[in-house]
Symmetry: D2
């Protein structure tokens, strides 16, 4: 589908790793809607071949940047404005990584250096990004900044480990910085709290398949896909949502407001009765 | 603006009283986006001249209906499907009224017959509407139902009186019925929690002007207007938000997540120092 | 246990049906803590034998009252103050009933007269009670009013039916009236959102046993019992919580902030793999 | 007052700086209730004279510890169990510090090394503390761990700066670790979200006096004092709240659920009309 919702709008999209990425699907949809953008990812995370393919499809340029480095962010934003020919209208932050998760370290036995690294990459990077955009006055009025989050920020999913705390911090940044960005620049800042999504990153997490299936059964409309998230992000970048800000918005088929579904209770009772 | 976001989609819009109404603005925007619909309002609330003017502008028919009457709702939905030529894709519930507020009765001194009347009109009507739609199987898959709410459902605004409790009940209906509508019909149900908006109905509430001004100063992006709400509703009726359900979505310039703004604190401190 | 936490405090306890009742356990604990009170219940719900036994144990008098009747509430409060020798320090509202649930009527096929009846009994009775207390100036400063609620007010539990909406309304009343009771009388008003509890009333609900077991497995500390709730209520009636007001307080072993527990996921995965 | 609520219970209290500290008042109240404990604070923050005076009053020993150092925490917990003669029943974490706030650095212009330092002291210290307690199996069953938080974790208070994000992370830790502590050790973990309190630390924050006054006028029961917080903490350490866990509990006179009070609106309207 295409509605020209983002015609003339310019931005930056972080975190497109491969075609399973939410950021990848978002880039495709933003392009279809008429938006133009720079793609970026961490130099280490970037498989140049893959992201270049997306760049070709969407007529975008790629600028590698470490989102935890103010220096890289300065360079990224300056170059993006130059390439795109002016200030930005939208930014997508789709970045997250926990060393404790990767190395299989339990939440009750963290290596706090790893905790710190994951926090910097997954959460503080969002502050650094907004601070750089703010100080450079790089956003147009009524621009829109979106970061991707997860319900573990509010509720316990044991395997999500320290990413839960990182997402809570990320969502808090959205509110805290969203205030100043709204007041001073008329820019909105929101997070989307997305269904568990089988991205290449997500697939590595212990018990992820079971959990996807559980979430599917708990959600009255089923799990939101990467494409659903891309569409929702398009709506948040568009002029249809100009006064929506400081919000954490669930795109999850309804899971976030479920206590228990009939589908899950049925399975539970079958299991109990065996 | 127009993006053809709702081309081919059909629905019912409740509550357009005059051009200050959120429902009125929504009808105009839905029409611009290619949607077709039936307009309805309570026979007593309906100034036929005014709503007919909107109907003419939007190529719509008007069917009076008391939203607390299952009989009227049955008739409304049957006739709407006949007029529109099939099942519905969207419904907007924008209905609210408190007899206690109208008659200036304090929250601590309610007439509970009036409380009951206001609850039926403002909240139960939403259940009755959805029950009628559900039993008639009147919604297309991936349809979208939206009701308008207000933050008094979560937080105390003393002058809002028993409407606060009605909105809490309304939002609960959205979750409760949203589950069944999602599970059984793949239809999403959400509420928009809108900034205080100077509608003809709102203007009658004691202290409303002062409150609008307070909300404006508290919200980093200022109050959302009726047009902002219409645009947000369009995004929720569109295919961009297919897996968003059971949510209460704030369209309020950020007020809902504010503790206090600098603008309000400045006024407060000036007053304190006098 | 006994700490004399409520020595010299006087109150009214609604809803003690039999020894499985939360209100029954609360009456026992309040008595142990030195509080004195009047017991009340609806004339129809009252098995005089049972409640009289509790009254004997706790040195209390019993006054039947229909909590939906302002007249009955007036009489109850007047007589209670006379019996107890002064204004009240605490009130427990433990009342709930849905005709739709009792008669097995689905949420999507409600009889709205029954909905209205259940709403009046389960929710509006709390407003009527507080309005009567407020107008009579029947509460001492720093008194405490507690009503029992359930997490279905926030999240969907399909079998809970219209009681979910009633609890949402009840919790809203606690906030709305809590504001006026705090501002004008220095009285606090809170709700406790309790684990599913195998009371005689609860046991009647379809699928209740399975659900108790599910909640037990989801809650890191297991389900809160009626005695746990009684203890928590004692803490809210005591002087330890004087500035806690307008809150909905979960007494649920942690369920309310769980996404999923390992115990539930394990069962789910076993079932999936069969 | 004294009820012997904590007779025989043993614990550790972090963060008593001087008699304005919440931790100081809590130590006094816990002592009155029969609890015994070790006092601790950061070596640099500790004015030995002052805390020694509290130690003398409460028959406690003082062990300096940097709460960001696993080594110090190991030593603290080992020595505390030795001094107190067994496992612990309660722990209070009352620690918070932002270098950005201290040095007057705006939220939009953070020094991220300072951000990291404040996060480690204010939030990660709580994880490190619980991880050390958990790995040593240092808590008795049905023990209780409490950390102090603030509503800026949910809502924007511009002057609170990066402490808002730290508190969001802290509250997330309470949930995340609370799950494992509950499941494995039957220990509860909660945060108290306290009114702004004129502690020696708080007084240093820009605009703090004005804000205290604003919060007082917004809260139906006025601001909770340090003593109120001490009393609430006692209730959470006691056996009255055994199944309350993973919660963030507001002790704030009702502020958290206010939209606006009449008192604030009156001042606002006076100011507007001048």
């Amino acid at each position: 589908m295409s509605y020209n919702l983002l015609e003339g709008k310019k931005g930056i999209i972080f975190g497109a790793l491969d075609e399973n990425s939410i950021a990848w699907q978002t880039a495709l949809r933003v392009h279809q809607e008429g938006g133009s953008f720079v793609l970026t990812n961490a130099p280490v995370a970037m498989r140049m071949g893959a992201i270049q393919q997306l760049a070709d499809q969407t007529n975008a340029q790629v600028i590698p940047a470490d989102a935890t480095s103010i220096e890289d962010l300065n360079k990224l934003i300056d170059e993006s404005m130059e390439i795109l020919g002016g200030k930005l209208d939208f930014v997508l932050h789709s970045i997250g990584m926990s060393v404790n998760v990767r190395k299989g370290r339990a939440y009750t036995d963290q290596n706090h250096d790893w905790t710190s690294k994951g926090w910097d990459v997954s959460a503080v990077s969002f502050h650094k990004l907004m601070q750089t955009l703010y100080k450079k006055d790089a956003m147009n009025e009524w621009g829109s900044i979106v970061a991707l989050s997860y319900m573990a920020a509010q509720r316990v999913f044991p395997d999500y480990n320290d990413m839960a705390d990182n997402k809570a911090y990320l969502e808090s940044i959205a509110r805290s910085f969203g205030y100043f960005f709204g007041r001073d620049k008329k820019v909105r800042v929101n997070t989307i709290s997305q269904s568990p999504t089988p991205t290449t990153a997500g697939k590595g997490v212990k018990g992820f398949d079971g959990f996807i299936s559980y979430a599917e059964k708990m959600s009255p409309l089923g799990n939101a896909t990467a494409l659903d998230c891309a569409n929702y992000t398009v709506s948040l970048f568009s002029d249809l949502t100009k006064r929506v800000t400081l919000q954490n918005l669930y795109n999850d088929g309804g899971f976030s407001n479920m206590g228990v579904s009939d589908a899950v209770m049925d399975l539970f009772e079958q299991q109990q009765s065996e």
